[in-house]
Amino acid sequence: MEKVIAGYSVDVTEEGYLTNKGQWNKEIAEAIAKEIGIDELTEGHWKVIEFIQKDLAKTEKMPTIRRVKNAGGIETKELYRLFPEGPLLKATKIAGLSKPVSCV
C-alpha cells in the first residue's frame, strides 16, 4: 500500500515497513522513528541503522541482535536502550528494510 511519510509517497507493508528501499531517505527515517516513539535519531541510532543496511547489502541476510553486537560493535544493552521494546523491529523499520523473520 501507499503511504505519505515526511512528504514522500512510499510503498509500505500493512505494518509500515518500506517495500522499496530505493524510496528511503533520512527524512523518512526520522518520520518513521517519531511515529514509533523515538523522538530523535542520535549518532548512536544512525550507527545501528547504517550497520544493518550495510550488513544486509553485504551478506544478503538480515543481521541478528548477536551479529549487531559481534560484527557491528553495538552492545545489546545499548541496542535496547536506543530502540526500546523491539530493537530489531524498530531499527529495520526506520532503516527502510523489511521486517526481520529470524527467531533470534
Binding site: I65, R66, T76, Y80, L89, V104
Partner: protein
C-alpha cells in the same frame, strides 16, 4: 480479556537440564524481549544447570530416552554419543546465530530479561548464590515467582 490482546509479559519455568530442554525456553524468552514483551526466566531442578557457573558451558543433548533422535537407546548410551550429538547440534545452531548457553543468558540479561532460581531446588541441590552466573537476579520462592508473574503468561518447559 480480549482474545487478540497483545501479550505483555511471559514467565518461563525451565525444569530440564538437557540442551533440548533449555534452548526452547531461552529462545522464547529472548524472542519475547525482541518483541517488546517483558520476560522472566525461572530455573528449577536440573534446569538450574543452565545458570550454574560450573555447568552452563557443558549442557548436553539427551541421546538416551529420546526417540526423536533416531538413535536406539543402547547406541545412545555408548560413551561419547551425547558429546557427538551435542557438537553436531551446536554447529547447526552457530550457523543460525543462536549463541552458546552462557552467551545466550548474558544476551537475555542485556535485553532486560530477568533470571531467577527456585529456592526449593537451590536448597535441595545445596547451592549458594555464588554458584550461579552473575546474571542471576534473585533466588525466589514459588510464591514470589507468582507475584512476579502476575498479569502475564506462565509457560512451563
Amino acid at each position: 480479556m480480549l482474545n487478540n490482546e497483545k501479550i505483555k509479559k511471559v514467565s518461563i519455568v525451565v525444569s530440564k537440564g538437557s540442551l533440548e530442554g533449555i534452548y526452547p525456553a531461552l529462545i522464547m524468552a529472548n524472542g519475547a524481549r525482541m518483541q517488546g514483551i517483558e520476560a522472566n526466566l525461572f530455573f528449577t531442578f536440573f534446569g538450574m544447570d543452565a545458570i550454574t557457573k560450573k555447568k552452563m558451558g557443558n549442557i548436553k543433548v539427551a541421546t538416551v530416552g529420546n526417540p526423536a533422535m533416531g538413535i536406539p537407546t543402547l547406541i545412545g548410551a555408548i560413551p561419547g554419543m551425547s558429546y557427538f550429538a551435542t557438537r553436531m547440534m551446536k554447529k547447526q545452531m552457530e550457523e543460525l546465530d543462536i549463541p552458546p548457553i552462557p552467551e545466550f543468558i548474558e544476551m537475555i540479561d542485556d535485553a532486560g530479561g530477568k533470571i531467577y532460581a527456585c529456592l526449593a531446588s537451590v536448597d535441595m541441590f545445596k547451592l549458594k548464590k555464588e554458584d550461579f552466573c552473575d546474571q542471576l537476579e534473585k533466588i525466589l520462592t514459588v510464591g514470589e515467582f507468582y507475584d512476579i508473574s502476575a498479569g502475564g503468561q506462565i509457560i512451563f518447559t
